[in-house]
């Protein structure tokens, strides 16, 4: 049977938006290659019949449910390897995100399968799937096909659009999975811990985002003053959040938030792909960076090459003056 098995991540009784995009994409592609669209879910009691069946609204025909520890990749690898092996799915599909990468990679080894990652689009050609994958900091796009079954497709964060949910319900099938011995040797001690202040960056129209180029955590004072003058909020890259300069709740990108404000002003952000995927939907992108070769200048609408410590304070004053003058 030629079909697609998509992994859907959930937490506290709700599916991850990025996973819903992958489920929607899996359903669309399965239709094109004439196969079944199935979904794998792994977790505990919050995976109710109703929650699992609701994936039918995004196009899934069947949902395989396995009871195993949540938030870790290896139990999911065991479950998906079993279902792909027994049911003969031709492709395994993942939305972007940390777990999807780990599960997809592990399945590659388990099933001796081809894998593509950071995929931005998938096309059906003669009943087979071809993945489009940007490489070299998005300076080229390769079209990749798979040799033999199955093929593993790991999408880039937000690459797949979430379909408008319908009323259809999927069939829910319980799967009994025997975990591999090594899959039981990783134990979740604490999951989903929030660190630092709670800030809301997703609803802000204007964002000032700070990166490592600010030099030190005090550099964020300049961002906060500028955001205050603009009437916006402050966001941060993963690098500075991990370094403890700014709270996790403000983080943009691969494991953080996805934002699309009217203005995204990036201060001292070089602009790696993991950052880009979290903010590329912004209407206006302004980047200030001292390195003229920073990748962010390739996707900014206005780029300023210069020293943040000189530019940000003056910009804050100029915006205040402008607002006072016009108001």
């Amino acid at each position: 049977m030629s079909g697609i098995l998509t992994y859907a991540l959930h937490y506290e009784g709700a599916f991850n938006n990025n996973s819903l995009g992958a489920v929607s994409e899996g359903a669309r592609l399965a239709k094109e290659i004439g196969g079944e669209a199935a979904v794998m879910v792994v977790g505990g009691e919050d995976l109710t019949d109703e929650l699992c069946a609701s994936l039918g609204g995004y196009g899934a025909g069947k949902v395989y449910r396995a009871s195993a520890p949540e938030g870790l990749a290896q139990p999911v690898i065991d479950a998906m390897a079993k279902v792909v092996g027994e049911e003969g799915y031709s492709y395994a599909l993942f939305g972007g995100g940390l777990l999807g990468f780990e599960i997809g990679a592990g399945l590659t080894a388990r099933l001796n399968a081809g894998v593509t990652m950071e995929v931005t689009a998938v096309n059906a050609q003669d009943g087979r799937l071809v993945a489009e994958r940007p490489i070299l900091q998005d300076t080229a796009i390769v079209d990749v096909e798979y040799v033999g079954d199955p093929g593993i497709i790991i999408g880039r964060l937000n690459a797949f659009d979430v379909a408008a949910p319908g009323e259809e319900r999927a069939e829910v099938v319980d799967v009994d999975v025997q975990l591999a011995e090594h899959s039981t040797r990783a134990v979740m001690v604490k999951r989903g811990e929030q660190r630092g202040a709670d800030v809301n960056i997703e609803d802000a129209d204007l964002l000032v985002a700070g990166g490592r180029g600010l030099g030190k955590s005090e550099g964020f004072d300049l961002c906060e003053e500028l955001a205050g003058a603009l009437g916006g909020a402050v966001a941060a890259t993963r690098a500075v959040v991990d370094a403890g300069w700014y709270p996790y709740a403000a983080q943009i990108g691969q494991t953080g938030k996805t934002v699309a404000p009217k203005l995204y002003l990036a201060a001292g952000i070089s602009g790696a792909i993991q950052h880009k995927v979290g903010m590329q939907g912004s209407e206006n992108i302004v980047a200030i960076n001292k390195d003229p070769n920073a990748p962010i200048f390739e996707y900014s609408d206005l780029g300023v090459v210069g020293d943040l410590n000189k530019i940000l304070p003056k910009l804050t004053e100029a915006i205040k003056a402008h607002k006072n003058g016009s108001g």
Binding site: L98, T108, V142, V187, V241, D242, N284, A318
Partner: protein, 264 residues
């Protein structure tokens, strides 16, 4: 215990990257260097050793690549590894993720490490999935993007950012861990360490030495095939201002923002 640190040579960031149109593979010629992400993995190994909570007898740098990759190993031993293993064979050229993971796993199997450490992300090829691939081959528990490792009662307590916040996960050894660059600040090698690096053992292996099956590596062992390479969609280039006179620069930014009604 024994720690294997996987390292890789990558084109120097200062050298322009290109795809070879004939083979459709990344052109890996040009100035090469140790992958900067890998220095964090070596540093993590050194800190576990120096931390003293668990005894580390042997830190081994392992790489797969052409002859020039020995330079990355040399850098790795100057940063503290005790010895190095270089898997080098023409048959490995054009291996994809699936084939590369298999070959590296065979080399690691012969070392029987208690811990395998990797840098979070290769600077080229973007193959930051390799840690999870190796873990499945080696049947070891695994985590990627780890930013803190503590030895707690013989287990490794790891922290990382995941989809819903920070996760803390305990791994029982042997294990495979990919570390993020926030985990530490790598040390610089001393002159003495650089001079001493040449004396540390380097073991070069061909595929037969590692028990690697020929038909599972190279292009015949790869499970993906590149059909085409295309330029990305054209994007209108943005306006660039070089800051010479900051007052003038700021005035330009303000008027740019004002034109787009962002200062209302």
């Amino acid at each position: 215990m024994k720690i294997c640190v996987l390292v890789k040579e990558v084109p120097d960031a200062a050298v322009e990257k290109r795809i070879d149109p004939a083979t459709k593979r990344l052109d890996r010629s040009g100035e090469k260097n140790l992958n900067p992400f890998d220095t964090h993995a070596i540093e993590a190994a050194m800190q576990i050793k120096e931390g003293g909570a668990i005894e580390v007898e042997d830190i081994v740098a392992v790489t797969m690549g052409p002859g020039s990759a020995a330079r990355a190993l040399h850098k790795a031993v100057s940063l503290g590894a005790d010895r190095s293993v270089h898997l080098s064979d023409d048959a490995l050229a054009d291996s994809d993720v699936c084939a590369t993971g298999y070959a590296l796993a065979k080399v690691l199997e012969s070392e029987s490490p208690d811990l395998v450490l990797l840098g979070q992300q290769s600077d080229d090829g973007e193959c930051y999935t390799i840690g999870a691939v190796l873990a499945d081959h080696l049947k070891m528990p695994s985590l990627t993007q780890v930013i803190k490792i503590d030895v707690v009662e013989g287990r490794l307590r790891c922290e990382r950012q995941a989809e819903y916040g920070y996760d803390t996960v305990d791994l029982t050894l042997p294990a495979v861990i990919s570390v993020g660059d926030a985990i530490n600040e790598p040390r610089y090698p001393s002159l003495k360490a650089i001079m001493g690096a040449k004396k540390k053992p380097l073991d070069t292996k061909a595929i037969a030495d590692a028990g690697i099956e020929l038909d599972r590596v190279g292009s015949q062992g790869s499970r993906t095939s590149v059909l085409a390479i295309n330029p990305p969609p054209e994007k209108e280039p943005g306006e660039i201002i070089e800051d010479e006179d900051t007052t003038e620069t700021v005035a330009k930014i303000v008027s740019w923002l004002d034109e787009r009604k962002l200062l209302a």
